[in-house]
Symmetry: C2
Subunit: 202 residues, 2 copies
């Protein structure tokens, strides 16, 4: 069966990456990485389900012990991706998704060369704006900011392995799954293959 694929999905706000990830988990049995954080749990949040909740001290110990694939600090709280959970899923042959922004994605790729970086985008920037406007939740200024940020993120596109155009969610989910299936057939992911065939002949 082989190891699972570590999948990193990034894309501008409004690209629909969240929906794609949800569908990969619910319909196709992908795992999703659970982040560690030092912020307090909200009433409905369970440790080990929504987050791994940590004290500042134990989070900083995780950093020192290199137990995180990537981490960052927002609003005075740490957030990070624990290595161990990801590695357990991969060893069990499960594909695991990290939905993270571009800098974090590249941080992970440096540590795991086998990580597959997917960038999602609507077919055009015009369509991205239309989707942000259709949400009806943000004013023009916020949308302008998000569009500017989207253009900045597009600068990182050449560092990504694949681009999935999110025209319809169904197609985009299928495209991600196609990429993962192809990746699992890569010879570089299965260095023991030759031995396997040879062993068989004895």
């Amino acid at each position: 069966m082989g190891k699972g694929v570590l999948l990193i999905i990034s894309g501008p706000s409004g690209s629909g990456k969240g929906t794609i990830v949800e569908r990969l988990v619910s319909d196709l049995g992908y795992s999703i990485s659970i982040s560690a954080t030092t912020r307090s749990p909200r009433p409905n949040e369970k440790d080990g389900v929504h987050y791994f909740f940590k004290t500042k001290e134990s989070f900083e110990k995780m950093i020192d012990d290199e137990e995180l694939l990537e981490h960052a600090c927002f609003c005075g709280n740490y957030y990070g991706t624990p290595k161990r959970y990801v590695e357990e899923q991969l060893e069990a042959g499960r594909n695991i998704i990290l939905e993270i922004e571009v800098q974090g994605a590249l941080q992970v790729k440096e540590k795991y060369n086998d990580a597959v970086l997917i960038f999602t985008m609507p077919p055009t920037l015009t369509e991205l704006r239309r989707r942000l406007e259709n949400r009806g939740t943000e004013d023009k200024e916020t949308i302008d900011k998000r569009m500017k940020r989207a253009e900045e993120e597009l600068e990182y596109l050449p560092k990504y392995d694949y681009l999935v155009i999110n025209d319809t969610v169904d197609e985009a989910v299928k495209d991600v799954d196609i990429i993962v299936k192809a990746e699992r057939m890569k010879c570089s992911r299965n260095p023991e293959l030759k031995k396997k065939f040879k062993g068989d002949v004895c």
Copy 2:
């Protein structure tokens, strides 16, 4: 739409690669590379369909002018893959298959880094032998030779991009098509993507 994918399929005799290639052409509209040769056409063979038939002089001129992706000499005749036809198909956005043996495959990969190398194998070497025996066309000595050759070819597996296990032909054809679809989503194949999105916003 983008350029097509140059697909190189290799695999031991008995791996079923010929059948897979036929199905990719007939069912999925893949192109197949037409070889150039200096041998004489057989009665049913048409120039530009089965082969490009060449004189020794014009073949050697093609070598000198670097018009071949790879070439070799068998039984006093030249065989080779003309660049131009392959490039025309790729430019037209069509996926084109070269069914060639391991050394030729690596020769092409050196010139076209974008070429996708696929190795086909039955699930085990035991199964490969069973398939060769079931053909009923070769004696034990020939089969032993083919098995030895298969083991030699497997040494090249780490140099290939993908391994497609030919358990059933239907699945193997689907797997090759999955690989090609994923390859076409690669950012490295679409260096103009960023510009495309940016241009759209103006």
